[in-house]
Symmetry: C2
DNA sequence: GACTACCTAGAGTATATACTCTAATAATAC
DNA sequence: GTATTATTAGAGTATATACTCTAGGTAGTC
């Protein structure tokens, strides 16, 4: 693999594990056993590395959320979208953690992320629309759909932060993809009241599969050590 | 005012304006025209300043979310809770921005914040319960109420981050309390399907008051300059 | 073999930042 | 008034971090 790609890969891994703020360019170089000079030969600065990683993320999610216009949407489709989005969140999980700081630092990123958000919101809204077309959820006026989509987005993008802050131990270490996907439970919670009788039970069953196993919100009870 | 209190006040203000990450202890001292030594006489380190500010925040929200058990809940109560929580978010808005980093840095804060979250979730759930008692929303099983409360929490705590990232300009400068309170619109959106016919119109009217004036999600249209 | 384009090492630098240390000054107690 | 305690100034430090610079190696081509 080319050094340039190795740098991107190692950066992503370190960022995800330790947070962008805690990973220096020197760390990245050391991790790859290359010199800082070498790293800066391939990237002008740290921002450029982050920007390029973001573009990968963007591309991935855009790919997942490309809604086919020519056929009705099934429950399986919806599940796929949800699973995919959370997979994406997981793979680039460092990004949402330090989002505001990163956007303040890099105007390119701010602009791109803003457009990315709008595309995602549009996709979510389209999904709702097509779910209504398929008779899975009741159709809703456009304005409500927009507000609902925004809520879905807020839940999705904030779920990981919630998990990390709800954990007793340090955030980075103990978080699994499985736990992250319990966010799907929360998203489906939003849909419940809009489900048609025909699909209600099916979706509720699907939702159960993502029900948190560990009691997340009842944090008072620490795990007994002995 | 005592120097100690001035430090807390100036720190909060600077943190809110520029983000904790961008405000150094030297900045705080300079802002107050005192010496760094003086600052460190009053606080052992930066973490202690942040921790103390958090405790103020906690106290404030706990005060707001103290639900009276002995009387039914009115729409006015609900409005008050929503307004208050967003006021609190505004006054201590730096906190949620760098939350994960702060919690990683200070175990006390992690523990306290975790318990704080649980108290808030319990309050939200209690509010739903009492709203059902008052016939404002339909009663729901406890498990659904818990999931709904968590969604409300996610929307509330992530709304500001969304606003900042949706803005085209740098985050810190252009954000008003008024815009922040449009988050109430999103929270009320979550309630819509559960409203009883008797209160539906009233709540929808209330919700309209918080409807975003500027088109937030249609970011493509930049303001025409000429 | 020599030219070129690409790649790499590693020491080094400017700047920032959290924090310390000493000494001096103000406030208070007796 | 004097002893003590609380407060303050301000220079200074250890460490970190993003990034630079120079020199040299490697691979392919003719």
């Amino acid at each position: 693999m080319k050094t340039r790609d190795k740098i991107l890969l190692a950066s992503l891994e370190l960022f995800n594990e330790q947070g962008e703020r805690n990973v220096t360019t020197n760390h990245i170089a050391a991790n790859l056993a290359i010199s800082p000079g070498n790293l800066y030969y391939h990237f002008r600065n740290k921002s450029d590395i982050i920007y390029e990683i973001f573009q990968e993320y963007e591309k991935l999610v855009d790919f997942y959320l490309d809604i086919p216009e020519n056929r009705p949407m099934t429950l399986a489709d919806m599940t796929f979208y949800l699973e995919s989005v959370f997979d994406g969140l997981w793979s680039y999980r460092f990004f949402h953690r330090d989002l505001e700081y990163l956007l303040d630092r890099d105007p390119r990123l701010r602009k791109d992320y803003r457009e990315f958000t709008n595309r995602c919101l549009a996709s979510i809204s389209l999904i709702f629309e097509k779910l209504a077309d398929s008779g899975i959820i009741e159709p809703q006026p456009e304005s409500l759909r927009a507000a609902m989509s925004l809520n879905v987005w807020l839940v999705i993008t904030n779920w990981m932060a919630f998990l990390k802050t709800a954990h007793a131990e340090q955030a980075s270490a103990c978080l699994t993809l499985r736990e992250l996907k319990q966010g799907i439970y929360q998203v489906l919670t939003l849909e419940i009241p809009y489900l048609t009788p025909a699909y209600r039970e099916q979706v509720l069953e699907l939702r159960e599969k993502y029900r948190p196993t560990m009691p997340e919100q009842e944090g008072e009870q620490e795990a007994p050590v002995n």
